[in-house]
Assembly symmetry: C2
DNA sequence: CTGAAAGCGCTTACAG
DNA sequence: CTGAAAGCGCTTACAG
């Protein structure tokens, strides 16, 4: 228990009266080792407070373990990604794995640099929410034998494991909810059009219109970036529309928050003057006033499934890639009113 | 630019017509190398797309570099810590450093395990927001020569660099604001009393009362944990008080959000029926309704300063420890009304 | 079932 | 200014 002065394999071996090879075998749980030997080694390990040097392990071992996992995250300020990270992290920590976090803040160059870093660190695998612009770097990672699981979207030229929400269905449900409440002019403040999920959500929005025989007014679909500032800017744009929409469907968390700032700032009553549904839920949705109706993505679950798939791939690199499409759930609260 | 099949020092050396020692020197920016040699090596590096193996570097080098930084964070779901992580991460990424994240979710055992992991990974240094219960493990880290910077609070038995907010002054300002608005019964929903910052904030709350000759009613200071659920639970408790307070001062982010859920749920008008100030600000404070008045901690700045101090300590391990006390700022918005 | 030895990809005295 | 060689702390065939 007491922290000890640097003790390595050598010290443990000496203390247990075996060779370092045997100690190594015990550490790696090889079953060949005789029970009595194993016990002796383990007690020496405990006695000396020995901790393997992971850099040395990583350098020497021939096959990947599950010790170091790299994360490539577009925006750590987005609560959705925090949920994902939480899901990954709790599973990782329960399995003794460590996480390297690469938050590239939607910056392609930083993303590239992080991919290089993950290589340099010899991570055992990565979980990435990549953007189309850096796709080929992620593909390179896979070609070079790194286990990779994609979040939010797959790759273009390569099959890979992917875990994502059913964006179209989620957006459909949100839009349908508004339509059933009688709304006919529903603005959609979409996320960055460079991001594929934005298009899937737009598709859901349109599909709902078609289903209910409502014409889609393309002028009602506006977008810029996927951040808070764009939410503010685009909400202002909605308010200036000649024929003001009676409802807004926002494409993500940050946009929702930005829109709320504008609506509250203009003292616009929600839902009486404008109803709202947002994509992405937050644990404090009830702290908003009114509590906002939202399409919940199960970020924690997505993260959890992603790392589970990653571990499986590390064990079995040739396993055929799978796609997990996680359902969303419409959380009906107060921002749309309570009935048609 | 194209990703290449594993190229190591050896390949670069061969391509540049020098020894691997020279290549290593170029990589490490040693100034002894002749200009012409350096150029040749660098072009070989670029040509082969060489990336140093960090595990090998870490294993071999005698002094700490700034490549791998460990983070010990109590709760990644708390926006304050996200800000801190952002500040650390952006600085790290700009300096080619990688970050290992250890989110222990307020769990002492997980914190201890993470500390061990950071040792195992041979991190170059750590930034830790530790709890009193695991203090001795962090102290062990320092004794064993790991550069450590503390956030939020220092250590008991050991001097170390520390970066933290001026909690007492911040809490004083929040309370004073309410008092000046005429409030005499101000409840304080404090964070977990095991956490020292909670006490500092309580002290500020009390100091403001004394300054303005108001008796402190200890029954008005309630606490449990520092999370959302406690915010909910304690707000309910406030509502049940025989003589209901006219204002609430919450001890952190999560508590604020929990309290808001309750107040909105009970349709209690803020600030007319109950005024509110929270410790900790969020970038979406204006998305709340009413926009909440809050004591802003400069989390991003704190993170930034912490990693800067850490890098300095790595360079100069014997430098005497310093404390950076970062000012807070009262962000006056709408949750207290607009004047006495 | 266990040990001696080679070697992972680097860095660093030590010579020259 | 540069190279040959030792070695960081491990893992892994290869013998036995």
């Amino acid at each position: 228990m007491a922290a000890n002065i640097k003790s390595g394999l050598k010290e443990v071996a000496r203390s247990a009266g075996v060779s370092i090879a045997t100690v190594s075998r015990v550490i790696n749980g090889e079953t060949v080792v005789k029970e009595a030997t194993r016990l002796a080694v383990n007690s020496a390990i405990k006695k000396l407070g020995y901790r393997p040097n992971r850099a040395a392990q990583r350098l020497r071992s021939t096959h990947r373990s599950r010790k170091l996992i790299g994360l490539l995250i577009p925006d750590i300020q987005n609560p959705y990604y925090i949920d994902i990270i939480s899901g990954i992290e709790s599973y990782a920590s329960a399995h003794g794995a460590t996480i390297i976090i690469g938050n590239f803040s939607q910056d392609a160059q930083r993303e590239r640099i992080y991919i290089d870093t993950l290589r340099s660190e010899s991570v055992d695998g990565c979980i990435v929410a990549t953007t189309p612009r850096t796709e080929k770097y992620v593909e390179g990672l896979i070609r070079d034998g790194f286990p990779v699981v994609c979040i939010d979207r797959g790759l273009k030229n390569l099959k890979s494991d992917v875990v994502k929400s059913d964006n179209e269905t989620g957006a459909f449900a949100a839009t349908e909810h508004l339509i059933k409440l009688g709304h006919k002019r529903i603005a959609h403040i979409a996320g960055d059009l460079q991001i594929p999920t934005s298009h899937e959500r737009i598709a859901g929005y349109k599909a709902a219109h078609q289903q209910y025989k409502l014409r889609v007014d393309e002028g009602l679909i506006i977008s810029k970036h996927s951040n808070y500032e764009s939410g503010v800017e685009l909400a202002l744009q909605v308010l200036k529309m000649k024929k003001r929409p009676t409802a807004i469907f926002t494409g993500n968390n940050l946009l929702t928050l930005g829109v709320l700032e504008v609506l509250h700032g203009h003292a616009i009553k929600i839902p009486q003057e404008i109803a709202m549904v947002g994509f992405d839920d937050v644990y404090w949705a009830n702290s908003l006033n009114p509590a906002v109706t939202a399409v919940k993505q199960f970020g924690y679950e997505i993260g959890h499934q992603a790392i589970e798939l990653l571990f499986k791939r590390i064990e079995e690199p040739q396993r055929p890639p799978v796609s997990h499409i996680v359902n969303t759930q419409l959380m009906v609260r107060k921002s749309c009113g309570t009935g048609s």
